[in-house]
Symmetry: C3
Subunit: 274 residues, 3 copies
């Protein structure tokens, strides 16, 4: 099984699928192709959240603002999973979670793109068309997809000549909140399509808490959206285990005035202050 | 075969797919994940329209504004098809059509979510992460997908311990039009992505009719869009068998000033009145 | 393998998938369902770009502003590939590229839609529903999908009774640029989702050129986006082999003020003039 994730929109992912299907019979499963454009950190969050629900698979990820530069491509072995993508950190939060051991469970390989054999498109004989065998702007198709297919079908990663043990050079941690007395100072990681505001504060923070001040706005803590009337605000522990700021059947981002990257201070409170 | 339909957008459906692929080898087919947000009736319309074109399958549907409340989850056996989703009525119009007999062909089972075994995400040993085994806000992943996988692979539904015969408590009928003399008083069920205005008035109503007044606007009745010049309005029998108000290569909703839920009066007419 | 491409958005493609899965076990792969609405030429460009990366397959394409008119449906055999869709030219640029020989490699068959056997939707006994067996407005479901399934499973196209040798009546060439001295006068073929402005001028035109005037704006020629600072404009050879006008991690269409169909004059230049 090969999963695909990118910020490519449409129809570029189809070219990657064509390349994969040229090289392998693996089942293909889309994770998403509408990750926020060139937003490595938000993409890393979603991968970390979604990939651990898959059975062992090869995960092809292309969110690559630096396409065409000298960056390495990466192949990460993390537990029973393998991740393939650019060496910009986007793979790391998911890979650390998928690894058997968070601190020390990853095997990393660097790929020299010059050793990758791209799939040449079919072109009629007699055509005047000439295009370079490997583009500088679509490595998803010309580098990462061929590598993912090869990795998927290989018995051992080390049998692939173009893989060499490597350290992961670029790191990307999801930001961790700080505690200031009873307050947690965190950050909005992403806003999902429903408008739910997903913070980086662990859901544990809400334990035993009925009301919470979010940047000063006091809202109830609920177990689920329906614990408040339709249209009302609340804080919950989201399905990913982090504190979320929501509106029952509405948009939390608009009601709280928050967007990705915003600072968020959370403080348990007993009553609304004057 | 398991089909998936939801109002989740992206990337939440990928987590459901991961769960399904953990539990079953069934082929997965997306119906849609962009149903109008938390709009049970529009989703019910589209399911009723699309699912009958599928061969026998398990259909996983999650449009669930009441997620986390005490509502039951439902499994419906309808002819050779099985539908799994929330007990808010969204499954019923499709299920009634798929059943061998409209009035009496459904078997309904209630699911006690506490008996459902969710798929736990992979998490590295040594991780400090703790999340509840079952979220309160993402039953698509933690309740409905595990049930759909189990139902798909079960020889008999009754072999699944957590299914209990049930009455369907909540009903959801698509609204039926009324007749007022020669006029049909109906409703806009949905507007599709092309801007076609789909009403609940049966296409039979247009039989033998060349011109029709739609809320007073007289337009030709055509067999297909191209029966009128590009940019002109018309009424047709849509591919779902209902009266549609359209513009040839344009948007009917804008030209007629109509949206989902609007009242629509249709009256055959011979000529444009003064 | 059957690929699907359309301008249908959602959920209409699911009805086509249901029909295909009724008739064949072929693997289904989505190319795109968000082609620009009823834009035959832009769709033809994307198909020409993407389909040649697929292994031999049947390609079902429905971008069909003339649905329901007397137009023929087409089946094109192009090399190891087969294309099925409306006879409005949308298939031709891709088919010519997939054919063994550009000038003379296509076999074309016309399909009489009256000979096509659509898939009837499941409808409960006792239902009052009556719909025509074949709609006038959704040939993707009622004509093209059944033909694609039959073609995919047929040993020889000529064994299908409803196929008759046919000439392709309607042609659709992507526009070719003209040369005016050192200037290439071309056209914007499409703008992709990143905002990259894709012209019809061959990438060869940029060979040996460091700066280029695009409608008078002088910008550097780069091998990849990262050859200029983030936010700066450049011209590159895109992954499809044409000249593209881009912004590194930004939108070229906005920065150059260009959209699909606009005229674009490109002229190599040594320095920025006064």
């Amino acid at each position: 099984m090969i999963t695909l994730a990118s910020d490519f929109g449409s129809p570029y992912p189809a070219a990657m699928k064509g390349v994969l299907l040229h090289r392998t019979d693996a089942k293909l499963v889309d994770v998403a192709h509408d990750f926020p454009r060139q937003d490595v950190r938000a993409s890393a969050f979603w991968l970390r959240e979604v990939l651990p629900y898959f059975p062992p698979a090869t995960h092809l990820v292309v969110v690559d603002p630096g396409v065409g530069t000298e960056r390495n491509a990466l192949v990460l072995r993390a537990g029973d999973h393998t991740l393939v993508g650019p060496d910009n950190g986007v793979l790391l939060p998911a890979a650390r979670r998928l690894a058997d051991d968070e601190a020390d469970g990853l095997e990393a390989y660097a790929v020299d793109e010059r050793d990758v054999d791209p799939v040449a498109p079919t072109t009629a004989e007699g055509s005047s068309e000439r295009r370079p065998p490997k583009s500088n702007t679509f490595h998803g198709r010309d580098v990462f997809a061929p590598v993912a297919a090869a990795v998927h079908d290989a018995d051992e990663l080390s049998s692939l000549a173009y893989l060499a043990p490597s350290a992961v050079d670029i790191d990307l941690e999801l930001p961790t909140p700080t505690l200031d007395g009873a307050r947690a100072i965190g950050e909005v990681l992403v806003v999902d399509g429903f408008g739910n505001v997903i913070t980086n504060v662990s859901g544990d923070f809400l334990a035993g808490c009925d009301l919470i001040a979010a940047n000063g706005d006091v809202v109830p803590v609920g177990e689920t959206f329906a614990d408040v009337p339709i249209g009302d605000r609340l804080a919950t522990v989201g399905s990913h285990g982090f504190v979320e700021l929501d509106v029952n059947q509405g948009r939390g981002d608009e009601a709280f005035g928050l967007e990705t990257g915003d600072r968020i201070a959370l403080e348990p409170t007993e009553r609304v202050g004057e």
